[in-house]
């Protein structure tokens, strides 16, 4: 006997939970969410640095990133009844070399062209915005409407609220395959053989989405990459802005709690060959490399103690922007994956748009550039 709902969402991360919430909010609460592990938000949703930013993004992402910040984030805590710690105090993307500035400038002008308030600032202004930064920073891009939030409570907030609204959740429910019924993707089969059935199937399972989509003959061009993050002990309040760098050295912010959360890498992760991917092990080099990166930009944090570090998989799309798309040859299937490590900040907007796609409505912004079949051979 199969378990039936209007919509089956594969993946209990922030995107899956947000989609479930916006579906329920629109009155479509006949939704089942399947999480492969025992915990909601086990993957990247709880492992990222909490950036809610527009600056630095590909122009294809900007419309919905901007939409979310304008329309969804401001009231999210109230809507969910959980403190998402959303803080909109701006984002500095720092540069130390001319090359960095060139890169930041290109990104900034591209973003300006689609209407984002982002501009280049010089070393002096950087210090005015955040006096704790290093002296060798020569400039930055500054986006005052960017910010950060707590990815843990945001993800769990979407879960909690949608659960209260009647969405059905199953954890420890790893998906083995999708099945077409009369040409339409309708069934989701778990490893244990349980079958779920729905009119629409949203696939939001991070990198695992690739294996799952393959079972109905769809290949999504993405790879996976492990990345690390760390958190300090509680510190006296220093700043509220989000930080990033042109070189990609690190990114992060000070959480409401007082601790600093930073994501970073050692460069070594790209060759990590993890025997058991589900273990998401940190490696022996990254913690130290991350500290060097952070201290070179925020020297004031040298005495802050790290209490924990962790790792998580990125689902890296071949061109760095996600796949949010219906699939022509697999009707019924909606992809929401390939977020490439920056999906948290856009998750509310993506969740909302997924709910609209299920309902057959027009999405709040045009996302045709995120179609699954956008890639072409280069030669």
């Amino acid at each position: 006997m199969s378990r039936v709902a209007d919509t089956i969402i594969i993946g209990g991360g922030v995107v899956g939970c947000a989609a479930a919430y916006y579906l329920a909010k629109a009155g479509n609460s006949n939704v089942i969410v399947l999480e492969g592990t025992k915990s909601i938000g086990h993957g990247g949703s709880s492992r990222n640095g909490g950036g809610v930013r527009q600056s630095g993004r590909d122009v294809r992402e900007l419309p919905y990133a901007m939409y979310g910040i304008k329309n969804l984030w401001p009231n999210l805590s109230e809507e969910l009844g959980v403190d998402t710690e959303y803080t909109q105090k701006g984002n500095l993307r720092l540069g130390k070399t001319e090359e960095h500035l060139k890169k930041l400038n290109t990104l900034a002008s591209n973003a300006q062209s689609v209407g984002l308030d982002v501009r280049m600032v010089d070393a002096k202004e950087v210090k005015e915005i955040c006096p704790y930064l290093a002296d060798d920073i020569i400039g930055a891009s500054w986006c005052p409407t960017d910010g950060h939030a707590n990815p843990l409570t945001t993800t769990l907030g979407y879960y909690k609220r949608s659960l209260e609204m009647g969405v059905k959740y199953y954890t420890d429910a790893p998906v083995k395959e999708l099945r077409k019924i009369k040409g339409k993707v309708r069934q989701v089969v778990l490893n244990d053989g349980t079958v779920f059935e729905g009119e629409s199937i949203i696939l939001a399972a991070g990198y695992e989405s690739r294996e799952i989509a393959r079972t109905v003959g769809v290949d999504i061009p993405m790879t996976r990459l492990i990345d690390e993050a760390l958190v300090t002990e509680m510190q006296p309040h220093m700043f509220d802005i989000m930080l990033g760098t042109a070189g990609g050295d690190f990114y992060g912010h000070q959480a409401h709690h007082g601790s600093f959360v930073f994501g970073s890498d050692s460069g070594y992760e790209v060759v990590t060959d993890m025997k058991d991917p589900s273990a998401m092990e940190t490696n022996s080099l990254t913690l130290s490399a991350s500290c060097r990166a952070i201290m070179s930009y925020v020297p004031a944090l040298k005495d802050a103690k790290i209490v924990r570090s962790w790792a998580g998989w990125l689902d890296n799309a071949f061109d760095g922007v996600p796949f949010i798309s219906r699939v022509d040859e697999a009707p019924g299937l909606i992809l929401a994956c390939g977020f490439t490590g920056h999906g948290f900040g856009t998750a509310p907007a993506v969740g909302l748009m997924l709910s609209q796609m299920v309902a057959g409505e027009e999405t709040v912004v045009d996302i045709s550039a995120l179609r699954y079949d956008r890639f072409k051979p280069i030669r």
């Binding site: 002990e233 509680m234 510190q235 006296p236 007082g258 005495d303 103690k305």
Partner: protein, 105 residues
């Protein structure tokens, strides 16, 4: 005085260097190299910090650097585990309120 000068099994406590340090500005004496928390205890200090959320007092709990309840502001650095940090002459030790040296409401 709660120092043990002579112990039935361990014998006489070896003599150590007396040093002074300050606790919230007040000058106190302790032995060089002993944990800061021990010097404070010898001076009758029980509450090392007040918590961030509920402003409750905390003091020595595990005494081996695990529980981190004994943290204080030492030489202007917050969150120093006083139970495993050796006392040095002239140290500035302050009660920690949340993570600050200032009392909070």
């Amino acid at each position: 005085m709660n120092r043990i000068e002579n112990h039935p099994i361990l014998g006489e406590t070896p003599s150590r260097n007396k040093v002074t340090f300050t606790y919230n500005g007040q000058v106190m004496e302790g032995y060089e190299g002993e944990p800061i928390s021990v010097a404070l205890k010898a001076n009758g200090v029980m509450a090392h910090r007040y918590t961030a959320k509920k402003h409750e007092p905390r003091g020595i709990f595990c005494a081996i650097g695990r529980c981190t309840d004994c943290v204080m502001i030492v030489n202007d650095k917050p969150n120093v585990r006083t139970c495993i940090t050796p006392l040095e002459a002239g140290m500035k030790v302050q009660t920690q309120y949340g993570v600050s040296a200032e009392k909070q409401d």
